[in-house]
């Protein structure tokens, strides 16, 4: 039983990161009906920018570990958000009126561009974050020893997701985002600046992805230019699992995918854990084609 709960926390930690990245996929899809394939690479950029800022500013030396990482997170989120806005302006907006397949191809191109740009800027080798940025301290909860960092990651993910949910549900801009997601034309007729809404979406989604990249860097230490591929794929799966276009669905899907992976590895086979996770995905989609919380039937791209 102890092993079960230990694996549950392992799965939640991984799932929290999947969920954070999945939010970016789901928001963009909700408004534009576009799968932003470059999102995994924005996540990688977050990890690299975090490392560059960390080593060049030495923030953690001046203001301490926790505050330093928090300031760093804000900076990384801002920068990756701006890159997201630029990405939309350059690669997606000119194709807004084109068939949807063109935008998908453009997204794939952007992904390849980012991945190679990172490789050419930083080199193909593995980079490693400085050790012990935050104290490695196991916390005892109900007899389980859980590393403090993992609790911070999960808490930060959940907090950001709740903040996003409240932002979308309770604020004026959030209402505009929801309106644009339902019908862009009608939203425009109601006086909503749809381009501004899309810009906001392309700021928030990549910013959350960048934050996830920073978390992976700080916690796991090792980053390289291809890391966005696996995380992007898993997060995309999580978004589908929860119902793409649905914010609580992305959270649920991410956490669920992480837990299924961990329990599948624990009780069936480690080598088969991805196969198990995707088998569960297929099962859920057969029973609920729109995902767990999805309402509208997703159109095929």
């Amino acid at each position: 039983m102890e092993q079960f709960f230990q694996q549950l926390t392992n799965g939640l930690a991984v799932g929290g990161i999947y969920a954070l990245i999945a939010l970016g996929y789901t928001m963009v899809y909700g408004v534009l009906k576009l799968i932003n394939f470059a999102h995994g690479d924005l996540f990688t950029i977050g990890a690299y920018l975090g490392l560059t800022l960390l080593t060049s500013l030495a923030l953690t030396d001046h203001v301490g570990g926790f505050l330093g990482v928090a300031i760093l997170a804000v900076m990384v989120m801002g920068l990756v958000g701006i890159i997201g806005i630029l990405l939309e302006r350059i690669a997606y907006r000119p194709l807004r009126q084109s068939p949807r397949l063109s935008a998908v191809v453009s997204a794939l191109g952007a992904s390849i561009f980012f991945q190679n740009a990172i490789m050419l800027t930083y080199g193909a080798k593995f980079y490693v974050y400085p050790q012990d940025l935050l104290p490695v301290m196991p916390v005892n909860i109900f007899g389980l020893s859980i590393p403090l960092m993992r609790i911070i990651i999960l808490a930060a993910s959940v907090l950001m997701m709740i903040a996003l949910y409240l932002f979308v549900q309770k604020t004026r801009i959030g209402t505009a985002i929801r309106a644009a997601a339902i019908d862009q034309g009608a939203a425009r007729l109601m006086g909503i600046d749809v381009n501004f809404v899309i810009m906001i979406v392309f700021f928030i989604g990549p910013a959350l992805g960048g934050a996830a990249g920073l978390m992976v860097g700080v916690y796991y230490g090792q980053i390289n230019f291809t890391m966005g591929w696996i995380y992007g794929l898993k997060a995309f799966t999580a978004a589908i699992l929860g119902g793409i276009g649905n914010i609580p669905g992305a959270m649920l899907g991410g956490l669920l995918l992480g837990v299924v992976e961990a329990l599948g590895a624990a009780y069936i086979s480690i080598a088969w854990k991805d196969a198990i996770a995707f088998f569960v995905l297929i099962l859920i989609l057969i029973i609920r084609p729109t995902g767990l919380l999805g309402e509208r039937v997703a159109e095929k791209i």
Partner: protein, 373 residues
């Protein structure tokens, strides 16, 4: 007239070696001078040039100078087969190289058909010496050799309940299966055998499961990025179990990722690093190399190429001949305990090196790789 002159020219070309007895003994070097393994190939050339100079200063072999003819295989099978054809047409006696197994494989038949002795220096794939080619040798160990050394090392370090983890690449899986079979034959219990997915960041689920299996020794046969993460996350779990890796973890990134504290005490198998070669031949060689190039050889494989060259010269000397058949027969049956740069050398009937090449390394508190006695 022209016709007669032409015949004379052809005659001269055909019998040129016989007419000019003082012709140099040509030994080919096929190595990756360009491509992703270029550092290996360039160092191979430096090693062979240095050794050939030394022999030539002592009067060469059979009263003739030794000439090294170098061709670039580019780390690519197609480039390599062109390189092999070029070397063969230059009438080499024997060839040293090359590094990658698939590259060597592309050239084995070309050399064999031309009657040229080939001594590979970095190609560890088992199948290369299972084809029954008479003139193929290698100075590096075979992949299955590592499984044997791993078993012996695990027993020596006191492993009774062993966990084996691989990453499903053909190399890592092969080593893991070989080791499992050997451990079972040695009556050591294997309590865990599974594969992780390379390229991920979080291996906590795997480590939790590993720990629950209750091993007293863990052998990971995969590569350094995952090994570093495993060590780091194992330390974070507060799990203290001896961990060992295969020769694919030999990279400083391992220590960077894990952190020196988590990497301390990690064992791994590897052919000796050039800095740890201890025979008198190796010491004087490393000294001469350092004098010429300003640093010791960076990788062991060029030194293994040097050993390939030295056994070839020894065989030519001993048989007083440059015929492939005689050289091969000598290497297989008569060469025993030859003092090589990387330890004593001898070959079995398949042309594989006899004797243990692998050493056990341990990471110390500063993250340095220290040779275990």
């Amino acid at each position: 007239m022209n016709k007669i002159a032409g015949w004379i020219a052809i005659f001269c070309l055909l019998f040129a070696p016989a007419l000019f007895a003082a012709d140099p003994v040509k030994i080919g070097l096929m190595g990756p001078m360009t491509g992703s393994w270029a550092s290996e190939g360039q160092e191979m050339k430096q090693v062979l040039d240095l050794l050939a100079d030394e022999y030539n200063q002592q009067g060469g072999v059979l009263g003739r100078k030794i000439q090294i003819l170098t061709q670039d295989d580019g780390g690519d099978p197609r480039t390599a087969s062109l390189a092999a054809n070029r070397l063969v047409s230059q009438k080499i006696v024997a060839v040293v190289g090359t590094y990658g197994s698939s590259i060597t494989e592309a050239t084995q038949n070309i050399y064999d058909e031309a009657g040229v002795v080939q001594v590979a220096n970095g190609s560890t794939a088992i199948r290369l010496s299972e084809k029954g080619l008479k003139n193929f040798f290698r100075t590096c160990p075979r992949d299955d050799e590592q499984g044997k050394v791993a078993t012996a090392t695990i027993q020596k370090l006191g492993g009774k309940k062993v966990a084996i983890l691989h990453d499903n690449t053909s190399y890592a899986k092969g080593l893991a299966e070989e080791s499992r079979a050997n451990l079972k034959a040695a009556n050591v219990e294997v309590v865990f055998f599974d594969a992780l997915t390379p390229g991920e960041r979080d291996y906590n689920a795997i480590l939790t499961k590993l720990k629950a299996a209750g091993p007293d020794f863990v052998f990971f046969t995969g590569y350094y990025p995952e090994a570093g993460l495993l060590l780091r996350q194992k330390k974070e779990m507060g799990w203290d179990v001896p961990f060992m890796g295969g020769d694919a973890v030999n990279n400083p990134t391992l220590v960077e990722t894990a952190g020196a504290a988590a990497a301390e005490g990690f064992y791994f198998l590897s052919p000796p690093l050039p800095k740890d070669l201890d025979t008198p031949e190796a010491k004087s060689f490393v000294e001469a190399f350092t004098k010429k190039h300003g640093h010791a050889p960076k990788s062991i494989y060029p030194v293994l190429a040097g050993d390939g060259f030295r056994v070839l010269v020894e065989a030519i000397k001993a048989t007083d001949s440059v015929e492939a058949e005689k050289i091969s027969a000598y290497l297989k049956s008569s060469l025993k305990d030859f003092p090589g740069l990387t330890g004593t050398l001898a070959f079995d009937d398949k042309g594989d090196r006899v004797g243990e090449v692998y050493r056990v390394y341990k990471v110390d508190g500063e993250g340095q790789f220290i040779l275990e006695p």
